[in-house]
């Protein structure tokens, strides 16, 4: 019964989306004002209905209703509760339903709270949102119905891929999805503003919280995904430039550029066409990302649920939406009037510079990701990895990060170089000194990590300088957010460069009782024994590790064997110190009874993820600041309007 309700409600929501599109369209035509009032309620209702449908699917998974095909294929009655829950979106159909749920609910929220935008622009935005979601409704209802019943209920479910039975991964895809779909709202705003020729500060202010929110989720998602790859794959790496990783990085790069140009538009009324264009690009990158992940067209260590046919559906949607949006942009771009001017030496100019650099990196990542597809058309099978991505993206990333030390110090519109030279000298000196120290002390490390350490240190210090001369108590949240996020990027870069420069590795075959060392750490294999979990058994090693002769700590790397469905997974063990991380992996038993063990000592690697979280936290501060500001503005406006009516009545 629950499954039927879920499906029925989903169809109703799709019908409402059709209505929303047509009502929105006719409301924008002359004489169609009658329908203008229904667009907002329709969007809200649509959000509520889809949310009910998604809750129905969650309920089916929690109860393990094996008469539903999707549950039988992806769940198991013996699975722990949290993975039953995560199983809802750990598959193609469920994740598409999650996608459309987030999309419809955010459309509903826009309809409920957005009051600053011109009414016709808002209606156009909601019509755009309905148009985008209709494609996904069609996809879900026609080709991948999550509520399909089996003719005969299955006796038992097939379980969830062991690699996916991980608490981090249970919440990683939905985090990224929220980010992807948040950008769809930005896309709809861009379309709405283009349709009504209303590209201005009000549009940027309405769009900004959505871009910020999406960007925060993408940042958290990428950081968490990188940590997941780091400790689950057991390869010691944290970023492989894998298509699936690039699929999440590209929207992030576009969203970062959009976020900054949006700020320029909101506060300075400049970069109008540019911001609209980035709004279109950012969502295109989300769609490209989804397409790459879902179609399985590219080899990936992360790809699980892949199906080429579904890929072509997403490709068709991509062509319709992005092609349509670009055509609209082409027609309307000339009617978007020029914004305010700024000089070559101003904050706007520095933001433009970094926007261009971000787009450069985006182009490089996109080309590198798609290159294997292009060559395959000519019969050559290639893969592209770190030797391409690292140096080529650094050519754009390093000037960008240097500019991040200068830009926030500049005034809007026009500034004099002499005003900031003394301040900029501080991070410049840090960069120079750190670079000198690294070159002298560790001449053997490669050039990129060297530059990374120097620039990262300079950025981590220099990012605080915009606070100089400000009253810290009265500094707006948005400024704090910028400072923290920029500092976080510097910290992350320091961690990444240090990992790449100073990691040491030890591979050894060990008997119980053998000792080894990696970097400053002495290791001893104490014992190897079997252990069991709820749906797995494992061989577990007990290793003691002592840093420079200090008190030993115990690590338990495992090799797990899962029962439903059968599969194996290495479970690496980590020990984190303030100055680095020890990483231990248990391998196979050799013919002579010795166990393969692999250890890494990675100095300062946790800074990488700490930095990522700082970036996200900075975004959160800025979001809180902006929303509080908006709420205040609305209150003040209401009060003014209220007084005005009172005065009118007195007259």
């Amino acid at each position: 019964m629950i499954a039927e309700i879920g499906l029925a409600v989903l169809w109703m929501a799709a019908a409402l989306a059709v209505l929303q599109l047509f009502a929105g369209f006719s409301a924008l035509r002359p004489g169609g004002k009658a329908l203008a009032g229904v667009v907002r309620p329709l969007a809200v209702m649509q959000g509520v209905l889809v949310a009910i449908s998604f809750l129905a699917l969650i309920d089916l998974f929690l109860e393990t209703d094996l008469s539903v095909k999707l549950v039988a294929a992806n769940s198991h009655s013996m699975k722990p509760f949290i993975f039953k829950l995560a199983g809802t979106w750990g598959n193609h159909e469920g994740s598409m339903l999650l996608w459309i749920t987030i999309m419809a609910v955010s459309g509903g929220v826009v309809a409920l709270v957005e009051k600053r935008l011109r009414e016709d622009t808002l209606i156009a935005t909601l019509a755009g949102q309905a148009f985008v979601s209709l494609g996904f409704y069609a996809f879900l209802l026609l080709s991948s119905n999550p509520f399909e019943r089996l003719p005969e209920p299955a006796p038992e479910g097939q379980g969830l891929n062991p690699l996916l039975q991980d608490i981090g991964l249970a919440f990683h895809p939905p985090t990224l999805y929220v980010g992807y779909v948040g950008l769809s709202v930005a896309f709809s705003f861009a379309i709405g503003a283009l349709i009504t020729r209303d590209v201005g500060p009000a549009f940027a202010r309405a769009m900004r919280p959505w871009v910020l929110g999406a960007w925060i989720f993408l940042t958290v998602g990428i950081t968490a995904g990188s940590y997941w790859a780091y400790y689950t794959l057991g390869w010691g790496g944290w970023w492989f430039w894998d298509p699936v990783e690039n699929a999440s990085l590209m929207p992030w790069l576009a969203a970062t550029a959009l976020l900054h140009s949006c700020s320029v538009l909101a506060s300075r009324n400049a970069l109008r066409a540019w911001t609209v264009m980035l709004g279109v690009i950012a969502f295109s990158m989300s769609m490209v990302g989804t397409f790459l992940v879902r179609s399985g067209i590219l080899t990936s260590v992360h790809a699980f649920a892949v199906d080429p046919e579904r890929g072509s559906f997403i490709l068709a949607l991509l062509a319709i939406y992005i092609g349509g949006a670009l055509a609209l942009f082409g027609i309307r771009a000339s009617t978007v009037t020029e914004g305010e001017r700024f000089s070559l030496f101003s904050r706007e100019a520095s933001l433009v510079f970094n926007n261009v650099m971000l787009c450069g990196i985006l182009g490089i990542v996109l080309l590198g990701t798609l290159y294997p597809l292009m060559t395959e058309a000519f019969g050559a099978k290639v893969s592209v990895g770190p030797p391409y991505f690292n140096p080529v993206s650094a050519i754009f990333a390093i000037p960008m990060m240097l500019m991040m030390g200068v830009g926030p110090l500049l005034r809007w519109r026009k500034d004099k170089p002499s005003r900031i030279t003394a301040t900029v000298a501080i991070p410049a000196l840090v960069v120079a000194l750190v670079l000198l120290a690294v070159v002298l002390m560790f001449p053997s490390i490669r050039i990129l990590p060297m530059l990374g350490i120097a620039v990262g240190a300079g950025l981590a210090v220099g990012s605080w300088l915009p606070l100089k001369g400000r009253n810290l108590r009265r500094t707006p949240f948005a400024v704090w957010g910028m400072v923290v996020a920029h500092c976080g990027l510097g910290v992350a870069l320091l961690g990444a460069a240090s990992e790449s420069a100073f990691s040491t590795e030890r591979l050894a075959a060990m008997n119980v009782g053998d000792t080894q060392s990696v970097g400053p750490i002495a290791l001893k294999l104490e014992k190897i024994e079997p252990v069991a979990g709820p749906n797995w058994t494992a061989i577990e090693a007990t290793v003691t590790a002592s840093y420079k002769g200090g008190t030993p700590v115990t690590l338990h790397p495992q090799a797990r064997t899962f029962t439903s469905p059968p599969g194996e997974r290495t479970e690496s063990a980590l020990h984190t110190r303030w100055n680095g991380q020890l990483y231990a992996v248990l391998g196979n038993e050799g013919d002579d009874g010795r166990w393969q063990m692999r250890f890494w000592w990675k100095p300062f690697v946790p800074l990488l993820w700490l930095g990522g979280l700082l970036v996200a936290f900075g975004g959160l501060l800025a979001l809180i600041g902006r929303v509080a500001q908006d709420v205040k503005r609305v209150r003040v406006n209401d009060k003014i309007a209220f007084r005005k009516t009172q005065q009118d009545m007195l007259k």
Partner: protein
């Protein structure tokens, strides 16, 4: 605006300058990427191709084929293995130091990432046939004949 901050530049010209800057940067990125890609992309080989047209030494490539039965040997350090990858037409000796994937066994398919050093392929990473549902996609690149062999060997 009473003052003109950009020294006489009209808004229209400023927009033109912005467009040109963005285009130059993007085209630059594209050219750079194209140049780097043609040098850095790693090609996929089967043993027959590798023997017929050997790539230059030290260049990153990938090798896919079957691990020959009885060829897998562990060296005395316990972590370095030698084996032979074949496709029925040619055989290539492979050396790998590290922990092998769970389903890496003789007479089964493998994709190795690494480079040629002399006549030996030195692998940095091995991707083994996982299970029925999660096959590394490179496996799909094998000829039907090889695929048939993989299926026959693993059943």
């Amino acid at each position: 605006m009473s003052s003109n901050p950009s020294g006489g530049i009209k808004p229209k010209h400023q927009r033109l300058v912005l467009i040109i800057v963005a285009l130059v940067a993007l085209v630059g990125a594209g050219l750079l990427a194209a140049y780097a890609l043609s040098n850095q992309a790693s090609y996929f080989y089967v043993p027959a191709d590798l023997v017929k047209a050997p790539p230059e030494q030290g260049r990153a490539i990938r090798l896919g084929g079957m691990v020959e039965k009885g060829s897998l040997k562990t060296r005395s350090d316990g972590i370095t293995i030698d084996f032979i990858v074949g496709d029925g037409k040619a055989r290539v000796p492979v050396r790998y130091t590290g922990i092998t994937p769970d389903l890496f066994v003789e007479a089964s398919g493998v994709v190795a990432e690494g480079r040629m050093e002399g006549q030996t392929f030195v692998a940095d990473n091995l991707l083994a046939k996982h299970d029925e549902n999660y096959v590394p996609r490179q496996m799909g690149d094998m000829t039907p004949e090889q695929a048939k062999q993989v299926v026959a060997e693993t059943q």
